[in-house]
Amino acid sequence: MNILNIILANTYTLPDLKHRLRILRAYLEDRVFGNKNQVFESQDENWLNSLPLDLLNQFNKDNLTSLLENLEQQINELHPLVLYLSFEPDQNTITSISSWIRQNLSQKPVLEIKYDPSLIGGCALVKEGIYKDYSIKAKIEEQKDLILQEFKKYIT
């Protein structure tokens, strides 16, 4: 059972993934060592409760640390798809975008959302260090000469 794939089933962004790893670690430590110290937010608690029992039962006192370290290492080796948006999306919007990506692409990368208002609309992507701009700003740059010609009709 691939723990990371299970977590990634409903985790879309890298910050969310790292956050869920932290709360999973805290939850499992409490569960395995019998402590009840942690108090989680409702959405985190809902997510923890949505995890299959089989996954939680894999962890014990002996392998907790190693499994979590392994999980963390897998997460660090991920190559997220960086998405530059012209606005700061809420969770529903992130979920919609991620759903579209997972439905339309064979690869299902975890996302990293960044904010760039200069894009105006659309988005820019960074994949494995390569930046590609598909925003309205890029469209204006592509059509620059045509736009200048149109403007000059009014000036000259």
Partner: protein, 202 residues
Amino acid sequence: MPIEFSQIIIFLGLASVVGLVIYNFRLNNRSSPPEADEQKSYKIIHDAIKKAQAILASAELGAIKEVAETKMVLREELTQAEQEYLNYLKFLKENADSAKNAGDEAIRQRVENIFVKFEERLSDFLAQTQKESVEAIDLEIKAARQLLDTYKQQQLKMIDENIVAMLERTLALVLAKKLTLSDQVDLIYEALERAKAEKFII
């Protein structure tokens, strides 16, 4: 030495006096001559007196004639001298007039030349000044035109460089307020479609 009329009169006067003295001497010194001798003496004296008078008259006449001739000569010489003087004056006047006319003509010619040269130089100066002014004005106009062209080119270049930024800024300001969340998400989907079509994401 010219004979003076007064000298002649004085000479005649002395001759008369001498004659009268001789007459008186003989008259006083005569002894009781006989009548014939007395008559002879009187006749001699009378003749002498007559001759003296004749000489005197002749002398007077000669003197008068001399004086008249001298006067005539003098008058003639005076007239000649006067004529020569007048001729000389006329000559001087003519020379002076000629010199004056020549001088006037020379002055007039010189003044005319000066004015002609002045006009020529003034005309040249004005033409040169006009040419330089026109050239300076042309240069100024050319510089101004160049400046305007440069400014225009700079403005167009600034527009070229900034129009995209202006458009982006305008759209960012306008669309940020106009685009709904749904529109934004649609634009994102459109961008992702293009990335997929270009096989940037698979």
